[in-house]
Every structure is written in C-alpha cells, then in structure tokens.
Subunit: 249 residues, 4 copies
C-alpha cells in the first residue's frame, strides 16, 4: 500500500518480506562426498557427482538422524533479503555459519518502507496464552484496521521528523534514532546447509518437530521462503531434515 | 531527564549508556601460560600464576606485535549493558567469541527509556565531510535543543501508541513494531580478551591506530567503558594492545 | 610404566590421560540470570547470585529441554590436558566455543611419553561388529601383552630415530615427522558450558542418550573427567543435561 | 617413490601435497555487491554481476586496506586435500569459517603413503637460528639421503606392525596408534575468501608482509596452491590482499 506522507513523500506499507536466492554451491552430492571420505579416503572425490546422489539418500538420512553435522557444511547459499528491522534483530543473532552485510542508517537515508500486519496476522492473545509460549489469533477486521492505521500514523510521524532533521543538516546517524523498528532494511545473508537448518529449526513452528519452536510470525515468514529454496537445491537433505524432526544436525 | 508522557507515564531520556562488569576469569598470566605451552609442554601450567606475570610483559608484547592471537582466548568477561537498540544493532554483529542474551520485546513490555544526544554530541557535518568517513561537529545550543525536543516528541508519541495497543490487548510483539531505535534494551555480553580487542579496534576511534576506525559515537562510548574495565583486569595485555596500534591480535 | 630406550633415555608408557581444571567463571546462577533478562530487563542482574539459584532449577531444566542454548554461554572454564595426539586429532575438531594452545613439535623436543592400552581396553571386535558402529571387547591377557609390547617396540624405534636426527642437527619439525600418533602432547583448552555440553554429547557413549554417540575410548576417558568437573561447577545445569538425554542445548 | 614393505605391500613415499578445487561460489563481484548494500540498499543486488566488477577494483582495495572484512564472506570454495597428518594438525586449528571432513583411522585402514622431504627442503638450521624464528638451509645430498632412508625405515617398520595388528584382528583405532605423523590423510576443506585470507596470512612466508609469518614449509606448500586457486577465482580481491601487506581483512 502506498501512502503520501504529510511532506509529500510517498511511503510504502507492506506485510511482505522478500528473500531472493542469489548464488549457491554444493548440493546433496557434496554431503555424500564429504561423509564418505571417512571410509573412502582419496576415493571420496568420486562421490562429488550430482548424478550419483539418489542412491545415497539412506546415508544422508543416517547422518541427519545421528546428528553428524559436518558433512552438511560443504555448501553455501547467498540470499538478498528485505525485511523490517525487528526481523533483523532476531536473524542477526545467528552467529555461526552466517555472514551479513546490511544497509547502513549511518551512510544512507533509509527508504520510507514499513511493515504492517496482514489481516490474517494472529495478534490478539488466545485464552490459554502463556508468556513463554505465546499463542495468538487474528483480530476482528476492526482490530486489524485500527492497528494498521495506528502504525501508519506512527511511521508517518517518525519519517516526517527524520526527513526534516536531514533537511536541517543533522547527521543521518542521529536523525535516524527515532525511526521505528518496522522500517525495512536490506541485507546480504550467506550461510551453509548446516547453519541454515539450525536457523530453520529455531525460526519455524512445527507441532511435529522434535524440539518445537515458537518464532515470531515475521521471521518465520522469511524462514519459510528460505526453506522452500533450500528444498529446491538440497532436496534429499531437506527431506531427511523433515523426516528426522527438523533438528539441526 | 524524566518526562511525563501524555498518558501520565514517566519516561526517561538520557545520553548515558551503562556497562557493568559482572564476572571475569583469567588475566595477563593466562596469556603467558597459554603461549608458553608451545615450548614448555607440561611445565606451562606453572606460568598460570599472577605473581610471576610482570617478567613476561615482553612476551605479551611480542605475541601482540606478531598477531599470535590464540593465547588471548583463555580468559573471559561478562558485562551487563543497557544501551539503545541502534547500538545493539552494531554490537550484535560481532559474532565470533561473543555471547548475548537480551531483553525481549516479545515477552515483556519495554520500559520508556530513550536515548537523546548530549550537547557535546557531534552531529552537524563539518565542511570536509565524506560519506565513507563522516566527520561531525557539535551543533549550536539551539540545534541541540531542537533535536532533543523533536526526539522527545517522537518517542512520546510512539510510546503512547505502544501503551494503548497493549491496553487494547494486542500482542506485545506487534505492539512494539513502531517503537523507536533509541529505546533502551538490556543485554548480557560475554567475550574473551581476543574478541574484546577485535571489538575495541573497530568500535573506538584513535587517529594513531594502525587501522583507523570511525565508529558511531554511542557504541564508542560503550567501548570506552569496556576498554577501561579491560585495562584494569589485563593491564599488560592492554598496554601491548595500545602500543601495537590497537590491532586485534 | 618406565622403559629404557636403546640410547639410554627413559620413556614413559601409560594409559592415563590427565585433565586438570585451571580456572572457571560463572555457574548455574549465570545461566538463570542470562535467561531471565528476556522478561526481566535491567533487573536480570539481580539473579547473578549463587545463593538464589536453587529455586531456578526448573527454569534451567526448561531451557535445556527446549534447547535454548545461549544462556549456557555466559561462563567459561580452562583445562590443562595431557593426551596422545590421536586424541587431540579428534578434540581439535571442536571449533565453536573452544580455544586451544598446544605444545609445539616445531619449537621444542617432544618428551618420550606414549599411550598404551590398559588391559581392560576393548580392542578386539565383537561378533556383531559394524563399521559405522564399532563394538569391541577386551582381548585375552596374551592379546594385551602382545600389542603393548608391539607398541613399546614401535615407539622405542621411532623415538630413538627422532633423538638421533636431533643429535645430527636436523630441524625439529622434520625430525618429528615419524613420531607416532600415541605420543603425548599438552594443550590448554578453554570452553563454555554450551560448547562443553556439545563436546560431551559427542564424546561420551550413553545408551540412554537421545542421540547415542560412539566415541573412541580415549577421548571418552578425557570427556568423563571433563564431565565430572563440569558437574561440580554447574550441578543444576549438569543434572538437566543428563535428564534431557545429553543433548547439547 | 614406491617402496616394497617387508610384508610385500607397496608403500608410496612422496614430497607432494595435493590440493584440488572442487567447487566455488562468488567472486570479486559479490564482494562489491555485499559492500555496496550499506549505501545502496535494495539496489545493491544489481552489483552482483561479474561483468561490472572491473570498475570496482578501487572499492575492493579500500575494503582490504581498512580491514572491512565482512564483504569477503559472501563466497565459498571447497578443496579436496591429501596431506600428511602433521600438516592437518596445523590446518585444523583454523576454526572460524572453515569446515572439514577427514578420512578416519577408526573406520578404514589408512593407506601406506608417507611424506619425505625433497632435496631442496631446508632442514638444517642456519647459524643465526632462533627458536621463535627458525631459519633453515637445505642439507648436503648425504644429509638428505640419510634422513629419507631413516624416514622410510621408520615408516616401513610402523606400517608393517600396523598391518600385522589388523591381521591379528585388533581394532583399527588401536592398531593405528603408532602410525607416524607423516602418513597421508584426505580431507574436504570448505572456507570463504575471508577465512582463506586469514589462513594465507598465517601459513605463507613473505618478507614484505605487514605481519611476517614463519610457517612450516609443508603447510606453506599447501597454502601456495590454495593461493594460486584463490587468485584465479578472485583476482581483484587477491591483488588487493597482496598490495595491502597480506593482512587478513
């Protein structure tokens, strides 16, 4: 949704987080090749061949089940992600096997693009809500409209002030301090299949998982896109991950 | 500075970031003991003795100069830090040798405590400003008052909306999305002397450093407190760090 | 057992690996304090108090069960370990949350101290032996004596050659290349409770563990000493680790 | 050189370490794209284009000079390496940004392939030798022949014993304990340009480097092959690395 700010600028309000795959290396065959070196030595290199991987689905499943994690590190994938800062605050806490480069509020003016909840966003606590295990339901249409308008008003006010501070010559890094947590920011994210699965296991909710996680819906939305891409590039590994309770190996 | 919000709540506006040391282990003697194992083998353990460390200042300086980093990892220190979110956004990007646990906007109501610039805060660009190397000067008293008031107004508006959303029953994790980046948050931070020096080298500005950094003033303020504490617990290591151009070993 | 080499030097042959705790910081109370910051904010610091920890055993158990790992990182422990190189080859593969400084075969002459199996060492495969899940039984007294003598002879030969090369002036780093994998080496090891539990989960065998590991007996021997020390300093955390299937959180 | 062991097996003695590139992702363009996100936001993705990278050599050089390291993490490369264990002992100490899977002496019989010094190998200390800065010169032909023969004899003895133990039914993991440190082992190694440069800076000797390292010749031999491959895939990054004193960014 586009919205004109009081100062005439056009702001974007959206519920959509974007995750684009940019590059990747490896695949299920590299998991197999990496694992087989322990018993095959120099011949392991012959397994680094996508055409032979089907016959090794059992090995991949075994590695996943036994949590033999290192063979899942010989690959990589880079995403370009556009998400609100409150999502980045969670994502950036993944330290091992994750690399980041993000847009800077010190060196560039941030764009007026803000997150708002979709009407389906569960945000009114259910009756059996517990602090450590929050459960929510979608609000009424009125509840949705009210908060969307309140968020739009708040962001409009904050961005208008931001623009005026910049116009008056204040340093970007100070002008931005009252921008809201739902402003979008772009970031490069590079990880490997192992660190990616650790991320998925914590940032998606699946009642059937061996260790059930309760992530915020927005990082889960990003994680579900990551998961879909992962499934495409590492289908056998992904199937084993799901089959074995979504435990990061 | 305390400030009454429109809804009667009392908000705090401050320029002060706090960093408290909670626990630490190790000291200069452990750097020496760790390094000496390479040539002393089982006898290295005898060097893990604070009373003998003075005579080893030369060794510590040599390790620092040559960037032999691992002996600086056999120690640890935990801080309890209260800082605005825009500082955490930078601090949390230190991944290796850093552990964090932070206050959660999903599980608790955040307190109305916000950062404002002190009058000495350089925030008006100087004439020879360059994007990649921002240089600022303090503004006039009027410039300072104007932005402090603008920040206070913005935070008051944002927090009042936040409180109303909570009062109406919206989930904390949604209600908080328009809180500003200058709201304070508490976090445990644990690191070791090596990761601490990497942090100092990037988050403090020293024209005499071998690789000069240009950090934002607020994370530098935190880093300078960290530095002072580090100097107290690892005085010989610290002196060698400064002497050798503040390069993380 | 002491043994005189052909050149008159005295060599040591032993089955014992030693692990000495040197320093540590933290304890169960820091796990609690780190976890409580998420809902307690600035008041979390009041939990960093060993006297109050008993009442929080339930919280620690909950963190372990749910695999909330980060609160277990705000502590540290340093060991001084003397173990054969084939053990170090496995131990050093623990990369995250582990720091090492080891004796150097380039800069010092290695001592003639070698590992031999105890008579109880299971080393003859059982009938239902599988490559990926090796199971062994102790050999007969004759089988034990034979291999101990064979190891002693091999080490005597290798060390005698090593000494002669050094006497002839060859570089230590070349002279040592035919020293055997069972020669002992000393190393400093620093880790935190989280990385320590990851190590225990992989390097100890427990049929009741959720993910059963099959480590080599010698690294397990070291791990069992580490475990005992860990239990002493973090008793509640340790109990929760065992109760929840020895899964690294 | 092939050599028949007393038991009729053929052993290989060689000075050659092999490093084969298997897969890689990224290139200089990804360094640029990752860095530009800080000032370009969502448009940064347009820089992830190899055809435009030439014009950005200045940016890459600036990043290297200022030690802005994270843009160099959005890439990856996997090597298959065959090297003696004394080389692995050093290589495996690179923990951050490195993944490994190695041949197992517990699960397979190790091949009789052993390292010997080439005639050009400097192994006799020079007159101005210092313990912390070892300098060597090549020995006489006689000195070379003597040690090669001594190494061959030692390995022959050790491997013959190993084979006999296996023939007698002892567990591989015990039989192998007196194999020498110069036996070859295969390993998968995956890293990124940043961790690769940290490795190069420590494992190559260059008198012109800003921080001069004194690695053992054999790991340097491996590192020089790694360096050549790195230069091929990241030519601008490599040139900037060399130009700026071979300091890991």
């Amino acid at each position: 949704m586009k919205f004109k700010l009081p100062n005439g600028q056009e702001a974007i309000f959206t519920s959509e987080i974007t995750v684009e795959p940019i590059q990747h290396m490896g695949g299920d065959h590299m998991v197999v090749a990496a694992a087989r070196v322990s018993v095959s030595g120099t011949e392991a290199v012959s397994f680094a061949d996508p055409s032979k991987v089907e016959e090794s689905a059992g090995l991949i499943n075994y590695l996943m089940k036994q949590r033999h994690g290192t063979p899942f590190e010989h690959g990589g994938i880079t995403f370009f992600v556009n998400a609100p800062i409150f999502v980045w605050r969670e994502w950036h806490r993944h330290r091992v096997g994750f690399s980041y480069n993000e847009e800077s509020g010190r060196y560039k003016q941030l764009e007026p693009k803000f997150w708002i909840p979709a009407s389906t966003r569960k945000m009114v606590p259910t009756e059996n809500y517990k602090a450590a295990r929050p459960t929510f339901q979608a609000g009424t249409p009125e509840e949705h409209v009210w908060i969307v308008n309140d968020i739009i008003d708040s962001c409009s006010d904050a961005y208008t002030r931001y623009q005026e501070r910049l116009d008056r010559g204040y340093a970007k890094e100070v002008a931005r301090v009252t921008l809201p947590l739902n402003i979008f920011s772009s970031c490069w994210v590079t990880c490997n299949p192992r660190s990616l699965m650790a991320y998925l296991s914590l940032r998606t909710h699946d009642a059937a998982a061996q260790f059930v996680s309760y992530p915020q819906a927005e990082i889960e939305e990003a994680a579900r896109i990551v998961e879909k891409i992962f499934k495409e590039y590492w289908p056998i590994t992904y199937a084993a991950f799901v089959k074995n309770g979504r435990v990061g190996p």
